[in-house]
């Protein structure tokens, strides 16, 4: 199910929404790498950043999913953090700039 920003019809927002979406894969990659190194604190930070921004860009699911990842990473619990990161990856991959056709 593709996810579109709540603000997709706002012309002022179009450019920065596109940037935000375009940067999501890099963010997921940075989280993957941090987790591989066992740097839970870094995962938590990255999740916290994207949690704060997601809703502001009209992607509430990003904020919700990142919040779960932040909580899991905070507990430094490997299994739940991997699960939460995978869930976040799935949400991120569905996010699209622009609106529904």
């Amino acid at each position: 199910m593709p996810i579109f920003s709540r603000y997709h019809a706002d012309p002022d927002m179009a450019e920065i929404i596109a940037m935000f979406v375009a940067e999501l894969p890099d963010r997921v990659l940075a989280m993957d790498e941090a987790l591989q190194r066992g740097e839970y604190h870094q995962v938590q930070r990255l999740a916290h950043q994207v949690k704060g921004a997601g809703g502001g860009y009209g992607f509430d699911q990003i904020t919700q999913s990142a919040a779960q990842l932040e909580t899991a990473a905070k507990a430094s619990d490997r299994g739940p953090t991997i699960d939460a990161l995978n869930a976040f990856r799935a949400v991120a991959s569905e996010c699209h700039a622009g609106g529904p056709p």
């Binding site: 935000f20 704060g52 921004a53 997601g54 809703g55 502001g56």
Partner: protein, 326 residues
């Protein structure tokens, strides 16, 4: 109202470690025409706060590993250069107890991520409005009502700061003390409204001098001007210009004044000039004022009081006293 500082648009410093938040705020605040500065780390944020001295700081409660938002706030409040800046926190929904601490430390408000754009703009407007009112009241408490020059309280405070600044950087600093010649008879003859007009007009002359000079009403018909970065000779020239300008004023005599038929009225001023250098190595604010006062007294002609309409500077004082003794 020549004294009020005016700023084209309020400046806002955003301190947040997430680049997307900066971009978002710039778009969401675009209609407000703020001058927006961005810092991505706590140390950059502190440095920029000192450098740009923004009207308001939007500070992420969880900024980075080096310092959290509360520590940044504490640093801002501890530094005299930044302690007066209004700080609003950007926080997540789950930061309840942190918010109480932040308010106790001196933050004025919170905006919660994700932002509601209307609420964001309204909260900023509200804080900037409160701040404007406060600044206006602060300034008004330091301004003389009649002349709109700085008042005595401001003069004392500012001169203390300027003396310290001049000492720190080994720069010259001068002051001019001045009053209106025969002000009391002027009042008695032409009435107090005329006296007020004279004070207002002299105030206008003093405030239209060089932009860097700080003109103050010292009290009654006495005025004082602080001239930063100015040595004695240059200050004397400034004082001389004031004297000439006042002498050249054309005064309309009130029709019902007792002396209305006595021809044109000329109002003159006497001025005493002193600089820090002529007050000695460890001289302070009060020495400077005393020296300028002595020079003013000498300009009036000393105890005889025969002279007036003159400028006397500190380096001429020895000569004056010898003359009197002779």
């Amino acid at each position: 109202m020549n004294k009020w500082m005016t700023r084209a648009s309020p400046s806002i410093l955003v301190i947040d470690d997430a680049e997307p938040i900066h971009r978002l705020l710039k778009i969401r605040l675009a209609t407000e025409k703020y001058d927006i500065h961005s810092a991505l780390t706590s140390s950059d944020g502190l440095a920029m706060a000192k450098e740009v001295h923004p009207d308001l700081i939007l500070l992420d409660l969880r900024i980075d590993d080096e310092m959290d938002g509360l520590q940044v706030l504490q640093r801002l409040k501890d530094d005299e250069a930044t302690s007066g800046i209004t700080v609003i926190f950007i926080s997540g929904e789950s930061d309840g107890d942190q918010r109480v601490k932040a308010l106790d430390l001196g933050a004025v408000d919170f905006i919660t991520k994700p932002f509601d754009e209307f609420e964001l703009r309204a909260r900023l407007r509200c804080q900037l409005r409160a701040q404007r009112t406060l600044h206006m009241l602060e300034q008004r408490a330091q301004v003389d009502g009649l002349t709109e020059l700085w008042n005595r309280a401001y003069f004392d405070q500012r001169l203390r700061a300027e003396v310290a600044e001049a000492r720190r950087h080994s720069r010259p600093l001068s002051i001019v003390m001045t009053d209106i010649d025969r002000f009391k008879p002027l009042n008695d003859t032409f009435g107090h409204p005329f006296g007020d007009k004279v004070l207002e007009q002299f105030g206008r002359i003093l405030s239209h001098g060089r932009a860097s000079d700080i003109a103050c009403r010292f009290g009654g018909d006495e005025f004082a001007v602080i001239l930063p970065h100015t040595g004695l000779r240059e200050a004397r020239e400034v004082a001389e210009r004031y004297r000439v300008m006042m002498q050249e004023q054309v005064w309309t005599i009130p029709p019902h004044a007792a002396a209305a038929d006595k021809g044109p009225v000329i109002v003159t001023v006497s001025l005493g000039v002193a600089d820090l250098a002529s007050c000695g190595e460890h001289a302070g604010r009060t020495d400077l004022v005393r020296m300028a006062d002595q020079a003013l007294y000498a300009a009036k002609g000393g105890s005889g009081g025969a002279a007036r309409n003159r400028v006397v500077s500190a380096d001429e004082l020895c000569g004056e006293s010898i003359e009197e003794e002779a």
